[in-house]
């Protein structure tokens, strides 16, 4: 008769011949391996049902096995089950999943930033390069993607001041335009992906500010959890580190806003309102981040409160303040 070592959420059981030989309840439900090991040392020939643990202990494995079946048939006679443990287990798993989700989004945001920088270089280079052949087009088409599309697809038809180049030269420029456009399309895809995922992860933040900006804040904070723990004053200057250092070291003016300056409600506001709007926005971001991280419940009121405050600032500080003499 084989011996089996099986366990459930609450304890480990050595089972043989449809009888529990011995059992150990877990002291720390999150860390059951200690008791399992102790029991296994006493019953080193026993067969496990769980592959992961069996591999860890280099033990025999069979699924399902008689021991497991016996345990699953007799739970009620062994213990009283409580669903609270299950609920916590799920909650922890969700949190862990969303933690790795923010890591994935941070990578995507950093890829986006590098792609954006490269695209800028590439588009500028393409203009200079193709400009040798058809300088008039550079002046006429301002939009980068449109310009690249024309380079890729069209021939120079009119008389141009540009040099008469060989076909292979033009082909190379066209190929560069093509690759740059593909990178540009990937960028759009990447933005869509980041937005969709960040909206799921942070419904409240994404309702308050542009999801892409949320993603950048998380990336700057290092993780979703970090962002949820930052005070509003830090959030306000997140991404303005160079200016902050200048302030601390040389006594320059402290920065009023970091990356949140990218929000049009700040950067299109009159200069004298910006600090106030940034402060209010940062405090609402702090609230929304906590809400998203700890509860995940959607609460329209955070965003509404910000809009009310925004209106108030706009009304109260409508006029440029007079300079003090």
């Amino acid at each position: 008769m084989k011996e089996y070592l099986v366990f459930n959420a609450f304890g480990a059981f050595a089972v043989k011949d449809k009888k529990v030989l011995e059992h150990k309840f877990f002291k720390d439900l999150k860390n059951p391996i200690k008791e399992i090991k102790e029991l296994y040392e006493k019953y080193p020939d026993s067969v496990f049902e769980n592959r992961e643990i069996a591999e860890r202990l280099n033990a025999k494995h069979e699924f399902p096995n008689e021991g497991g079946i016996f345990l699953r048939d007799n739970i009620d006679s062994i213990m009283k089950l409580d669903n609270e443990y299950y609920i916590n287990l799920v909650k922890e798993k969700i949190k862990k999943a969303s933690e790795s989700k923010d890591k994935v989004i941070i990578q995507a945001v950093q890829a986006l930033e590098q792609v954006d920088q490269s695209l800028n270089f590439f588009f500028e280079r393409l203009r200079e390069w193709y400009g040798l052949y058809f300088p008039e087009l550079c002046d006429r088409i301002e939009n980068h993607a449109e310009f690249a599309g024309i380079v890729k697809n069209e021939e120079r038809k009119e008389k141009s001041m540009g040099a008469d180049l060989e076909d292979t030269d033009i082909e190379m420029m066209k190929s560069f335009a093509d690759k740059t456009l593909e990178m540009y399309n990937f960028r759009e895809e990447l933005v869509r992906y980041i937005k969709e995922n960040i909206e799921k992860l942070t419904p409240n933040l994404s309702n308050l500010i542009n999801p892409l900006l949320v993603a950048k804040l998380i990336s700057l904070a290092g993780s979703f959890k970090n962002l949820a723990m930052l005070p509003a004053s830090t959030i306000q200057v997140l991404g303005a580190e160079p200016a902050l250092f200048r302030h601390l070291r040389k006594g320059a003016k402290p920065p009023k806003h970091g990356i949140i300056f990218q929000d049009p409600r700040i950067h299109t506001a009159p200069r004298w309102q910006r600090g106030k709007i940034a402060r209010s926005m940062a405090s609402k971001i702090a609230i929304a981040a906590r809400l998203d991280f700890y509860s995940g419940e959607f609460d329209e009121s955070v965003s509404e409160a910000f809009e009310i405050r925004l209106d108030a600032i706009r009304r109260k500080y409508k006029e440029r303040p007079k300079k003090r003499r």
Binding site: E49, R51, D73, L81, D82, N83, V90, K91, I94, K200
Partner: protein, 209 residues
């Protein structure tokens, strides 16, 4: 059928947690007890009963393995029915399970499990052997998933098949026949129903081990 009543062509389950609704369903009083309206458009099990399911072998102390619990609408009614039993609710989507967890917090006989039903080994240690398996997972291999999980079963089960999830190119009737055949290799199929008008191209099978 225990804890289920039928009034004016509608069915209700006895509310395990009086005065609480799960999905804003209507609450009624009947013979001094509170009952929750069981919406057949929201729950395929309700649709099956309304479409003439003869027997639902769930008792007041049944243990149920519910695969594809989603956000918990149907599981909450099963929880009403099995009152003193247990419903192990397996769901793979973290998004869907958030709502389910909220429901479980009020219903002590519901046990949420965030796992993939394709891998029963991963939650074997969290469940017990059950009297009933209910399966409603819109996946191409949903019948196979059910069969895998039957290692936990001593009793009956129900399978709800969505034709479009299995193969959009085949005629639903063909799919239902094929899936029923698979079932019959492992179980005795007791009843077969279609769920129109409540759900399009869905079939419902009640089976016994």
């Amino acid at each position: 059928m225990e804890n289920i009543i039928k009034k004016d062509e509608r069915i209700y389950t006895k509310n395990l947690v009086p005065r609480e609704t799960v999905y804003n369903e209507k609450l009624i009083k009947f013979e001094g007890m509170e009952y929750r309206y069981w919406d057949p458009f929201r729950s395929k099990l309700s649709a099956a009963i309304l479409n003439g399911l003869h027997d639902l072998p769930l008792k007041k102390n049944s243990k149920v393995l519910y695969l594809g619990a989603a956000s918990g609408t149907t599981p909450s009614h099963v929880s009403d029915i099995v009152e003193n039993g247990r419903v192990y609710c397996v769901e793979f989507s973290p998004r869907a399970i958030r709502k389910l967890v909220n429901i479980c917090e009020k219903r002590k006989n519901m046990f949420p499990i965030l796992e993939d039903a394709n891998y029963p080994e991963r939650y074997a240690h969290l469940i017990e052997n059950v009297d009933f398996i209910y399966q409603d997972i819109a996946q191409p291999n949903q019948t196979e998933i059910l069969i895998k999980n039957s290692i936990f079963l001593k009793g009956y089960g129900a399978l709800c098949i969505k034709a479009r999830s299995i193969d959009v190119t085949l005629h639903p009737e063909k799919i239902f026949k094929r899936e029923k055949k698979k079932l019959e290799e492992h179980f005795e199929v007791l009843e077969s129903l279609r769920l129109e008008p409540y759900a399009k191209d869905h079939a419902f099978f009640l089976f016994k081990q």
